[in-house]
C-alpha cells in the first residue's frame, strides 16, 4: 500500500488503522516493523495504536525511529560484529556512546594527519563527522565515494579516507559506537542476519535516508506487504543527509493512493523553488530596525496572546539560530517554554554549571582555584548561605586568593547550610569516579522538586556523558574532561531528544519544528532576514549535494547549489506552513543584536496580501535637480557641507524605485554603518509597507554577503563556520605572536595597524618587508587559518578575489547590480572602488556622491580620495554648492579657507565655491572669532563664560564644542559639567563613554568587591551622573567616609542599597547574562540608550571568551575603560541634536552635525599641524610607511592636507557664530608645555597666503 499525502492529511491515521487491524487479526507483533521519524512520533504512533488495540497481549510494538532501529539491531546482533573484530578488549555488549566520547576518540586518532590544503583545524573534526554522516546515511560504497571526490577535486581525499578509516578502527578497538557508527554497523547487520518482518510500515517515507531505503530493498523479498506513506514534496533532509526522494512507486510497483494536497502549500513549494515570492492571506509582516525591538515585540505579542487565554502550546516561535540574547528575552514570556533547537551548551544551565564547579573542587582541591564570582553563587545557591555570609566568605577567600583553600575557610562555617555534609562528602569522594561524584552531590544538593525537572534532565545527560568516558577509556584527565564537557555544544545528538512539556510555548528550529510536527495557531517566524534560515550544505570537506546517493551529474556548479538550496527551503517552508492553522507573523529587523546588518533569510519569499504605492515628494533646488534626472551611466555628485546630500540621495533611490527598478537591483554603499541605517530607516519610514529594501550597506556588509551568499566562501576553501576575528581576539593573537617571536608585545597595536595597511596596499610586495615583519605577518595569517577566522581586511580582499576569479559569482552580482550608488565617495578605499566597478560592469550605472573637502579619514583608514577625483573627471558632474546651513560670515570664511588652503598645499582642497540660498541663511558677517590666550585656564574660562552669555540671550541655542581628540572632549565635558548649570551631552564612539558600559562596569566592580566602600561610593557617583539615584547624592560622601561595609549594614531606606543587594543575588548567572541583566535593569526604559545593551553584553562576551573568568574579564574591562584603544563596534546611540543643548565631541565625530554656536579650542601647532616641521609621525605610521615604500615627507603632507579639511569640517558646522581659540601653554602629560598657535589663525586672518 502506498499513500501520497502531506502531513496535514490523515495518512498516519490510515497506517495506524492498518497496523492495529493486523495485530487484532492475530498476526504476531514480532512480524511487523513500523518505521517512523523520531521518538516523539513513535510515542504518538503507539498511543494511537493502543486505542485501537482489541487483543489482550502482544510481545511488543516494533516501532522504531530510523536511528532507534540501528541501535536496537546492534544490541540484538552484537555477536556478528564482535566476531569480526580483531583487537583485544572483547566486550559482551557494545558501548553505545554519545558524540562527546566518540569525538574524543576521533580527535586523538587524527591528531597527526596533515590534511594538505585544508587549514581550519578547529572545524576539522566537525566537518569530518559531517562527511562521515553523509557517507553513512547515503550508504556509499568506496567506489561511490571516489567518484564524488573527483567531482569535488579535493587535494585532501587520501588524508580524509585515512582519517575516517583510522576512526573506524579506533571505535572498533574501544567497542565504542556513536549513532553514526551504529548506522554503519546496521548496514552490515541487516545483510547478515535473518529478517523477521513480514509486514513493514513506513510513515514519512520522504524523510528516510538512502541507508534505510537500502534496508527496505534488502528485506523486500521476505516481506508480504508494505504500507508506506510519503509526501511527494516533503523530504526536508534533502541536501542534508540525502538528496533525492526515494522512488516508492518503482519500489512497490503500485499505483499510489493520492490524498488531497494543499493548494497554498503547493504554491509555496513552487514559488520558493523558483526563487519567487508567495502572497499569504494570513500573514502579518512586522519589520523593525533593531533586533531588540523585534524581540520585545515578540515577547509582548506572545504575552498578550497568553493574557487572552490562548493556549501556550498553540504558539510556535521558529528561530533561525540559537542566539543567547534572544534567550534572555524569551525568559520574559509568561509561560513555560519548550526550547527545541537541538543544541545547547551544558554551561548554560546554572545548576549543572554549579555542580561541575563542585566536582572540580572535589577532584582538585589544591589546584583548582574557583573564581570568587562563582564561589559567591555556589555558597548562596547550593550550600545555603545567606547573602551576607556569602559575601564575607568570598571576601576572605579572595583576600588571600591562592593562600587558603576554600575548604579551610569553610571549616570555620561548619554549622551553616550544608557545609558539614559537603565537607564530609568531599573526603569520601575525592578519588571516586566523576559519575559517582556527580551522583552523590546531586543527591545532596539538588532537591527533587518540580522546579528542578529540567535540571535533572540535564544532569542525567551529563551523567551519561561521564559514564561513556569512564566505560570507554581506562585513563583520562578528569579536570580536562570537565572543561571539555562544559564547553561542548550538545548538537543534533539523537540520543538526547527533548521531551516536550504539554502546556508550554514552543520555541524551535525550523528542522525540529517540522520533524516533531509541531502544530500552531500563532506561528512567529522570528528574525526572518537572518541568513541562517537557509542552512549551509556545502563546505570544503562536506558537500551534501555531491554526496547524495543517486547523484548522476558529473560536475557541480554554483547554479546547482542555488537551485538545490531553494528547493530544500521550499520543502521545509511548505511543511511548516501546513503545520499551522491560524496566523503567521513574520518578524524581521535590519540589524541583528550586535548591530550587524542582516540580509536574505526567508523574508523575501513571503508577501502580505496588500499593495501600496510609494509616494515621495521633494522639490529639488536647481543645483540638486540633475541628480533626480539621472538616467544611466556614470554620475559624480559633489556636494558641499549642508547642501542636502542625504535628502537628495534618498530622493534618487526612491525615484529609481518608483521607476520600477526592483529593490534587489539597487546597491547603495555607505561609509559608516550609521549612514546605512539612516538610509534604511528613512526609506522604511517613507514606505512602511515595502517588504524588501534596496541593498544598503557598508562595503563590509556587502563583502560579507558576497562571501556568505550561496555558500560562495566554499570556493575560497573557507569552512562554513568561518567567522570574523573580533578586535579583542585579534589584539590578543598579535600580542601572543610578538611575545613568542621575542618582540615587545606592547607594540601589538602598531603591528595590527601595519598588517592591515599591508593587506590593503595595492601591490603586496613581500620583498619590501623586513624579515621580522614577514615572520609576524605569516604567523598571524596561519593562526587565522587554523582558527577558521578571517579579519575585516580579508573580508574585503577575499570578496574581491571571489568576484575576480569566479565568473559565475561575478555574473550573479553583475546581473543584480543595475544601479550602484555610493555615498561619501571621498572616503572610498581602492578596494571598494574596484569592487564597485566590477559589480556595476554589466549595466555601467554608477552614481558616486561626496565632498573631497570633507575627506577626513585618509590618515587612519585606507581611503583613497584620488580615486574620487579621477571619477569626477570621467563622469557627468553635478555640483551641489548651495547651503542654507551656515551664516554668511561662515560661508565666506569657508570659501576663503579653500582658496588659501590650496596655496598652502595644492592637494588639500577641491576648488568649489559655496553659496548661500537667498533669504535662508543667517546674515552675520562677523561670525568667525579668533582668540589666543596665555594660559589653558583662561581659554576654558572664556568658553564657559561665552556659553553662559549665549544661553542668557537665547536659551534655545544649540552649542557644539569640537575638539581634536577624545581625551580633550572628556576634559571639556568634565569642566563644563562642573561649572555650568546645564546638561552637557558628550557624543562619543568610545566605549568608556557609553552609559551602558559605565553602568555594567560599575556593578561588576561592586560585585567583585562588595565590601569596598570607596568603589560603592564612586559607583554611586557614576550612576548619578547617568541619571539614577538622584535623591541619594549625599550618600556619596557618607559611604566613602564610613568604616563598616555599607552593603552589610541595614540601609533599607536607600534604593541604591537594595539594588546592590539585588545584583549580588545574580552571581549564579553566566557573566554575559549578568551584563545583560544590569544593562536592562538601568536602561530598559530608555529608548535610545537601551539599543547598546546587547552590543555591550557582546563586548563582555568577547572579553570573557579570552579571559575565561569573571575576575579577568573585569580586569580587562577596567583596562579598556582607562586606556581605550579598542575599536569596538557599538550602535550609534547619539540622538539627533536637539534645540538648546550643549554638545561636546571631536571634530571627526561632528561631521554631519550642525550647531548655532561652535567652539573649536586647543588649536595649537602640534594639535593642528600645518607645516612639515609641526607633524610628528607615530610609530605605527612609520611601520606602514616602509610597507608601502612611501616617504615620510609625503605622509606628512597628507596629514597637513587632512588637518586643513578637518578644520573645514569644524568650521562648516556653525549656523551662526564660531569661536576658534588656543592657549600658549598647556599641561601635556602632566607637564606644562609652551606651544604656538596653529597656523590656521594666520590662514583665517588672510595673513598666510
Amino acid at each position: 500500500m502506498l499513500i501520497f499525502g502531506n502531513l496535514k492529511t490523515n495518512k498516519t491515521e490510515i497506517l495506524i488503522e492498518k497496523y492495529s487491524n493486523l495485530l487484532n487479526s492475530g498476526v504476531s507483533s514480532d512480524e511487523i516493523l513500523v518505521l517512523v521519524q523520531n521518538s516523539k512520533l513513535k510515542n504518538e504512533f503507539i498511543e494511537k495504536t493502543k486505542k485501537l488495540l482489541k487483543i489482550e497481549a502482544i510481545t511488543k510494538f516494533n516501532i522504531y525511529s530510523y536511528f532507534g532501529l540501528c541501535y536496537n539491531k546492534l544490541l540484538e546482533f552484537y555477536p556478528l560484529i564482535e566476531e569480526k573484530i580483531n583487537y583485544d578488549g572483547v566486550v559482551v555488549s557494545p558501548k553505545t556512546c554519545g558524540l562527546e566520547a566518540s569525538r574524543y576518540i576521533f580527535k586523538n586518532a587524527i591528531d597527526k594527519i596533515n590534511f594538505k590544503g585544508y587549514n581550519s583545524k578547529v572545524n576539522l573534526l566537525h566537518q569530518l563527522l559531517r562527511r562521515l554522516s553523509l557517507i553513512t546515511m547515503n550508504d556509499l560504497s568506496d567506489d561511490e565515494i571516489k567518484e564524488r571526490t573527483k567531482i569535488l577535486r579535493e587535494s585532501f581525499t587520501s588524508d580524509v579516507n585515512f582519517a575516517l578509516n583510522m576512526y573506524k578502527k579506533e571505535t572498533l578497538k574501544y567497542r565504542a559506537f556513536d549513532y553514526l557508527r551504529q548506522a554503519q554497523l546496521f548496514s552490515y547487520i541487516f545483510k547478515n542476519s535473518p529478517n523477521p518482518y513480514k509486514y513493514v510500515f513506513l510513515d514519512d517515507g520522504d524523510e528516510i535516508t538512502p541507508l534505510i531505503f537500502d534496508y527496505l530493498n534488502f528485506i523486500k523479498k521476505d516481506v508480504k506487504e508494505f504500507f508506506i506513506a510519503a509526501d511527494k514534496k516533503g523530504g526536508s533532509r534533502v541536501g542534508y543527509l540525502c538528496a533525492q526522494d526515494s522512488d516508492f512507486e518503482a519500489f512497490l510497483c503500485e499505483t499510489p493512493i493520492i490524498l488531497e494536497d494543499d493548494k497554498k502549500g503547493d504554491e509555496i513549494y513552487n514559488n520558493i523553488s523558483n526563487n519567487s515570492p508567495v502572497v499569504l492571506e494570513n500573514l502579518k509582516n512586522k519589520e523593525f530596525i533593531r533586533a531588540d525591538e523585534m524581540a520585545e515585540y515578540l515577547i509582548n505579542s506572545v504575552n498578550s496572546l497568553l493574557d487572552k487565554s490562548v493556549k501556550p502550546s498553540d504558539i510556535l516561535i521558529v528561530i533561525p539560530e540559537n542566539d543567547q540574547f534572544l534567550k534572555f528575552y524569551l525568559d520574559k514570556i509568561n509561560s513555560e517554554i519548550n526550547f527545541i533547537t537541538g543544541s545547547e551548551k551544558i554551561e548554560e544551565n546554572k545548576t549543572v554549571s554549579a555542580l561541575i564547579s563542585i566536582m572540580k573542587l572535589i577532584i582538585e582541591p589544591a589546584n583548582f582555584k574557583i573564581s570568587p564570582y562563582k564561589l559567591k553563587g555556589l555558597l548562596g545557591q547550593v550550600l545555603g548561605f545567606s547573602l551576607d555570609d556569602s559575601i564575607k566568605i568570598a571576601q576572605t577567600y579572595e583576600a588571600d586568593f591562592g593562600a587558603k583553600n576554600i575548604f579551610e575557610i569553610l571549616e570555620t562555617y561548619i554549622e551553616i547550610g550544608k557545609t558539614k555534609e559537603f565537607l564530609n562528602l568531599k573526603e569520601e569522594l575525592k578519588d571516586k569516579k566523576l559519575s559517582e561524584i556527580l551522583f552523590k552531590i546531586t543527591n545532596l544538593f539538588i532537591e527533587k522538586n518540580e522546579n528542578n525537572k529540567t535540571d535533572y534532565e540535564k544532569i542525567n545527560r551529563l551523567l551519561k556523558q561521564l559514564r561513556d568516558f569512564e566505560d570507554i577509556f581506562k585513563t583520562f584527565n578528569k579536570s580536562e574532561l570537565l572543561i571539555q564537557l562544559e564547553n561542548t555544544i550538545i548538537s543534533e545528538n539523537p540520543i538526547f531528544e527533548d521531551e516536550l512539556k504539554e502546556n508550554a510555548v514552543n520555541v524551535s528550529s525550523l528542522q525540529k519544528a517540522i520533524d516533531f510536527k509541531i502544530k500552531s495557531k500563532y506561528l512567529f517566524l522570528f528574525d526572518s532576514t537572518n541568513a541562517n534560515w537557509i542552512k549551509q550544505d556545502i563546505g570544503p570537506l562536506y558537500n551534501a549535494w555531491v554526496f547524495q546517493k543517486n547523484r548522476i551529474k558529473k560536475d557541480f556548479t554554483l547554479d546547482d547549489n542555488i537551485n538545490l538550496t531553494n528547493n530544500k527551503i521550499a520543502r521545509m517552508m511548505r511543511k511548516l506552513y501546513l503545520l499551522q492553522d491560524g496566523e503567521i507573523i513574520l518578524l524581521s529587523s535590519i540589524y541583528n543584536f550586535l548591530g550587524n546588518e542582516n540580509f536574505k533569510g526567508i523574508k523575501h519569499f513571503f508577501v502580505e496580501n496588500k499593495k501600496t504605492t510609494p509616494k515621495f515628494n521633494i522639490a529639488p533646488r536647481p543645483d540638486q535637480k540633475p541628480v533626480l534626472e539621472y538616467e544611466k551611466g556614470l554620475m559624480a555628485v559633489t556636494a558641499v557641507a549642508g547642501a542636502g546630500k542625504t535628502t537628495i540621495m534618498l530622493a534618487l533611490i526612491i525615484k529609481l524605485l518608483e521607476k520600477g527598478i526592483a529593490p534587489d537591483n539597487i546597491f547603495v554603499l555607505t561609509y559608516m554603518d550609521s549612514a546605512a541605517r539612516t538610509f534604511r530607516e528613512r526609506i522604511k519610514n517613507t514606505f512602511p509597507d515595502m517588504s524588501e529594501l534596496p541593498n544598503i550597506s557598508t562595503i563590509h556588509g556587502l563583502s560579507m554577503r558576497i562571501l556568505r551568499e550561496n555558500n560562495n566562501h566554499a570556493h575560497l576553501g573557507l569552512d562554513v563556520d568561518f567567522d570574523i576575528i573580533d578586535e579583542i581576539k585579534k589584539l590578543k593573537l598579535i600580542t601572543e605572536i610578538l611575545y613568542n617571536e621575542g618582540f615587545d608585545p606592547k607594540n601589538a597595536q602598531n603591528y595590527e595597524r601595519a598588517i592591515s595597511s599591508f593587506k590593503n596596499s595595492k601591490f603586496k610586495n613581500y620583498e619590501l618587508l623586513t624579515p621580522s615583519f614577514k615572520r609576524i605577518y605569516q604567523k598571524y595569517q596561519n593562526s587565522l587559518k587554523e582558527l577558521n577566522l578571517i579579519d575585516y581586511d580579508d573580508l574585503l580582499i577575499l570578496s574581491l578575489e571571489l568576484l575576480k576569479t569566479n565568473s559565475k559569482i561575478r555574473e550573479y552580482y553583475q546581473n543584480l547590480a543595475k544601479v550602484v550608488i555610493e555615498d561619501e565617495a571621498q572616503d572610498s578605499s581602492e578596494i571598494q572602488q574596484e569592487l564597485i566597478n566590477i559589480i556595476a560592469h554589466k549595466f555601467g550605472n554608477i552614481i558616486r556622491c561626496g565632498d573631497i573637502n570633507q575627506a577626513i579619514t585618509s590618515t587612519f583608514t585606507n581611503s583613497d580620495t584620488k580615486g574620487f577625483k579621477k571619477f569626477i573627471e570621467k563622469s557627468e558632474n553635478v555640483t551641489m554648492n548651495f547651503t542654507a546651513r551656515n551664516s554668511t560670515g561662515v560661508i565666506n570664511a569657508a570659501n576663503d579657507l579653500i582658496k588659501r588652503g590650496l596655496k598652502v598645499s595644492k592637494t588639500s582642497f577641491f576648488e568649489i565655491e559655496t553659496k548661500p540660498i537667498e533669504g535662508k541663511n543667517i546674515v552675520n558677517n562677523n561670525a568667525v572669532k579668533l582668540k589666543i590666550f596665555d594660559f589653558e585656564e583662561d581659554e576654558k574660562k572664556f568658553i564657559k563664560d561665552k556659553i553662559i552669555e549665549i544661553k542668557e540671550n537665547d536659551k534655545n541655542a544649540t552649542i557644539g564644542i569640537l575638539t581634536r581628540t577624545n581625551k580633550e572632549a572628556e576634559i571639556f565635558a568634565q569642566y563644563l559639567k562642573e561649572n555650568i548649570d546645564a546638561k552637557i551631552i558628550t557624543k562619543s564612539d568610545s566605549i568608556s563613554q557609553n552609559p551602558v558600559f559605565k553602568a555594567v562596569l560599575a556593578i561588576f566592580n561592586f560585585i567583585s568587591n562588595p565590601m569596598n566602600n570607596i568603589i560603592i561610593s564612586n559607583n554611586l557617583k557614576t550612576l548619578i551622573d547617568l541619571g539614577f539615584y538622584k535623591n541619594e547624592i549625599e550618600l556619596i560622601e557618607k559611604i566613602k567616609n564610613q568604616n563598616s561595609p555599607f552593603i552589610l549594614e541595614n540601609n533599607e531606606d536607600s534604593p541604591y542599597w537594595w539594588d546592590l543587594r539585588y545584583f549580588l543575588e545574580l552571581v549564579t548567572l553566566p557573566v554575559v547574562e549578568l551584563a545583560f541583566k544590569i544593562g536592562e535593569f538601568y536602561f530598559r526604559n530608555n529608548k535610545i540608550k537601551k539599543i547598546n545593551i546587547a552590543p555591550i553584553s557582546s563586548v563582555v562576551s568577547k572579553i570573557y571568551a579570552t579571559a575565561g573568568n569573571f575576575e579577568e574579564t573585569l580586569n580587562k574591562m577596567n583596562e579598556i575603560n582607562k586606556k581605550g584603544g579598542f575599536n569596538l563596534k557599538l550602535i550609534d546611540d547619539n540622538d539627533e541634536t536637539k534645540q538648546g543643548e550643549i554638545y561636546v565631541m571631536t571634530l571627526h565625530k561632528s561631521k554631519g552635525d550642525e550647531f548655532d554656536y561652535v567652539f573649536i579650542p586647543n588649536m595649537y601647532d602640534k594639535n593642528l599641524g600645518l607645516s612639515l616641521d609641526e607633524i610628528k609621525l607615530k610609530d605605527e605610521v612609520k611601520i606602514t610607511l616602509n610597507l608601502n615604500n612611501n616617504k615620510e615627507e609625503n605622509k606628512k603632507q597628507d596629514i597637513i592636507d587632512e588637518n586643513l579639511r578637518l578644520f573645514y569640517v569644524g568650521l562648516t558646522r556653525a549656523r551662526n557664530e564660531i569661536y576658534i581659540t588656543t592657549a600658549l601653554e598647556y599641561k601635556i602629560f602632566n607637564k606644562k608645555t609652551n606651544v604656538k598657535a596653529s597656523k590656521i589663525f594666520e590662514i583665517l586672518k588672510g595673513e598666510l597666503c
Binding site: S29, K50, A57, I58, V90, S435
Partner: protein, 191 residues
Amino acid sequence: MLDTFSANSLKILDSSIQEFKMKYLSNLYLIEDNEELKVGNKFHNIICYYLKNFDIEKFKKAFNNAELQTLEQFINSEIVKFAISADEKFIEQPFFVKINDKYLTGRFDAVIKKNETYYILDWKINNLPKNPSSDIQTLVYIYSLSKLYKTKNIKMVYYSILKNEKFEINIDENKLNEAKEKIVQIINKLI
C-alpha cells in the same frame, strides 16, 4: 497520564506513591549505574547469546577468572541445560499486556515451553527475592505470560548466578487471579 507499568515501577508504587510520582511522572531521578549492575548485565547478555546459539567462546575473554568459574557453573547448571535442550524457547522475550484499561510491560529473560508447560526463567546475579512467590515481579510475569501465551500451565523459576541457587514456583489459576487482583490494587493507588 501514565498507563503502562513495569514490575519495577509497580514495586516502587507499592512502597511509596510519592517516590513513584517523582520518578515516573516528573522524571526526577538520577539514572543508576554501578559495578554490580554491569556484572549482572554481562552474565545476562552472554547467557542470552548462548541460548540463542551464538558462539560465546570469544566473549569469555571479557570475564576474569572468578567470573569465568561462575559462568561455567551457570552454563552447566541444570536450569540452563534444561533451557538449551527445550524445543521451544523464547529468549529475552518482551511483553505488552492489557490489565483492565492499563498495560504491563517488560521482558522475560527466557521462556521455555516443555510438555505444554511454560517456564519463566529469571536470572538474578546475587540474591533471590525474599518471598519469591508473592514478589511483584512474579505476579506481573505470570499474569503477563498467561495472557501472552493464553495458558495457565506456568512455572516461574528464579536462579541466582553467583550462588547457583534456584527457586521454582508452581502457578495455578488461583495464583493467577490473586496476581491480577494484587496488581490492580497497586495500580489503583494512583487514583
